[in-house]
């Protein structure tokens, strides 16, 4: 295979004296859906945020389509084609739903904004109903949909999702994952960080397991699901 779209090589990162990432290496090819699972505090979100230099990488390399990310300021990352849907959704609470979506176009400008808004409203009909409302009035599930749609508005080549199922009712989680499946079927490269191992590994082509800032295992979804170590490392037996 040719070179991966995202290539993370032996990356270290720390918050002050606490080392959060230790020799992390992984890669994602164009068109793949890759998941990263692991317990709370394993370093999953830190890995995603380190792509944006927050925390900064102290050792190792991160390349996106051949470009070194570690030498770029955080706000330049999005314009390379990387969209992050962060943990906790982080919608702009005092902006309308539509304004939130428009904010997503920051890296590419508003040339395609009408077309893309239509697409998002098709994918998430509830957002069209609520487009004039402040994002703070949305339910958790709706905010998650808004956060995903906002990420897609930049027409990313790589979509990073951090715990999209966090704190949502099982039925809403189902809904979110079926939408992600739809997005993935359009050829989007997705990197999904999840604690919901079952859903995540079912959706993904491949997965990694992280614990204590290190990658412990890697393999296909079914491999990992049937692996005894995964149960031990993550699901606690």
């Amino acid at each position: 295979m040719n070179q991966p779209l995202l290539d993370i090589q032996e990356v270290d990162a720390s918050y002050g004296p606490i080392q959060a990432l230790n020799q992390v290496s992984m890669h994602i090819h164009q068109g793949e859906i890759v998941t990263l699972v692991g317990a709370n505090g394993a370093g999953k979100s830190t890995l995603l945020m380190s792509l944006f230099g927050n925390p900064g990488v102290t050792r190792g390399e991160i390349h996106f389509d051949g470009t070194a990310l570690t030498s770029q300021p955080g706000h330049k990352i999005a314009s390379l084609g990387i969209a992050l849907v962060p943990e906790g959704r982080h919608v702009f609470a005092q902006m309308s739903v539509e304004e939130n979506l428009i904010m997503g176009t920051t890296p590419i400008g508003t040339k395609h904004v009408h077309e893309d808004l239509e697409k998002m409203y098709e994918l998430f009909p509830i957002l069209e109903e609520r487009k004039q409302q402040n994002a703070s009035t949305l339910s958790g599930g709706e905010q998650q949909m808004l956060a995903i749609a906002r990420g897609l508005m930049s027409r990313p080549r790589l979509l990073l999702l951090d715990e999209p199922s966090l704190g949502l009712a099982p039925i809403v989680v189902q809904q979110i994952f079926s939408i992600l499946k739809e997005v993935a079927s359009g050829g989007m490269t997705i990197f999904l960080v999840e604690q919901n191992v079952h859903h995540a590994l079912k959706l993904a082509n491949r997965g990694y397991v992280m614990a204590n800032g290190r990658i412990k295992l890697g393999g296909t979804g079914t491999e990992l699901l049937s692996n005894r170590e995964v149960r031990e490392a993550y699901m606690g037996g």
Partner: protein, 305 residues
């Protein structure tokens, strides 16, 4: 007190309040975006008074005497130079402290304030300076008993201030720059992830605040004529009071707070005592802090989960 005196004081208060509102914008926007009180803001206003005098002197030296040209010329240069001050102060005194404690930029701001005052005092002299009256005359509204008098400069202050506020509101509500400002204010990290250069946005906010202070400084200098290196202090604290009254962090709040403070101060002067008008304004600040710390239009800080 009869009706005409009351209305007269309200008109005076509206003009004074528009000035407070313009300056309060700088406090409130900076607080909204980085959570600091820029104590040097009043001194940036003071700078614009000096620039106004210098530009007027230069224009008259070159034989330009038409008032509209002088007005536009001074506005242009004070806004330009003040913006440069706002940008530079943020870059030199606040940005290096961004990762530091909340107290550090505050102390730095007091330092900048002292530096500006002293540098102007040394370079321009400690004595009070003045500009000649360029526009005189007034409207006189006859009433059943007495009259109201609105000078052209007062009218100019009110109109220009309202135009400035309307333009700024439009920028914040409807332009890309405004959306970026609001996004950075609401969630700076997320704004960065979406590709917004938040450092540039913060610089822009300082420039906007300084430009609004320049607008106020030019108008007041044209109206009152005299100024010294120390004028920024008291009017800065008043404008800060206005920002707190309206709800610090809220743009319409700054304007509303400014106008309310100006009017109540003016009414107090007219009805009670002129000497104690500052005491009155600051008592108001204390009362707001006790009974409504979020101000009139401010939102209580909600911890995000």
């Amino acid at each position: 007190m009869d009706l005409s005196t009351l209305l007269q004081q309200l008109v005076n208060g509206l003009a004074l309040g528009s000035v407070y509102g313009l300056i309060a914008i700088g406090y409130t926007m900076v607080y909204g975006i980085i959570g600091m009180i820029n104590f040097a803001h009043g001194d940036v206003y003071m700078i614009s008074a000096y620039v106004t005098a210098i530009v007027i002197a230069l224009l008259t030296f070159f034989g330009i005497e038409s008032f509209p040209i002088i007005l536009l010329g001074t506005l242009f240069f004070t806004i330009l130079i003040n913006s440069a001050y706002g940008w530079t102060i943020e870059r030199l005194a606040y940005r290096p402290l961004r990762q530091s404690t909340r107290l550090a930029p505050l102390i730095s701001a007091i330092g900048v304030s002292l530096v500006l005052q002293n540098y102007v005092q040394i370079s321009q002299g400690a004595r009070s300076q003045g500009v000649p009256t360029l526009m005189s005359g007034s409207f006189r509204l006859e009433m059943a008993e007495g009259f109201i008098q609105v000078s052209y400069t007062q009218l100019l202050i009110i109109v220009v201030a309202l135009l400035g506020m309307a333009l700024l509101t439009w920028i914040i509500q409807s332009t890309r720059l405004g959306r970026e400002c609001r996004a950075t204010q609401q969630d700076r990290k997320m704004a960065m992830i979406l590709g917004i250069n938040t450092d540039r946005v913060i610089s822009t906010v300082f420039v906007i605040g300084a430009a609004m202070a320049a607008l106020a400084g030019t108008l007041v200098t044209l109206n009152y004529g005299t100024f010294d290196f120390y004028i920024g202090f008291i009017i800065g604290i008043k404008a800060f009071t206005a920002a707190v009254l309206g709800g610090i962090g809220s743009l319409p709040g700054a304007m509303l707070g400014g106008i309310l403070l100006g009017m109540s101060e003016s009414l107090f002067s007219g009805m009670v005592n002129t000497d104690y008008k500052d005491v009155f304004a600051f008592s108001l600040l204390v009362l707001i802090m006790i009974f409504r710390p979020t101000g009139l239009l401010g939102k209580p800080e909600v911890e995000k989960v």
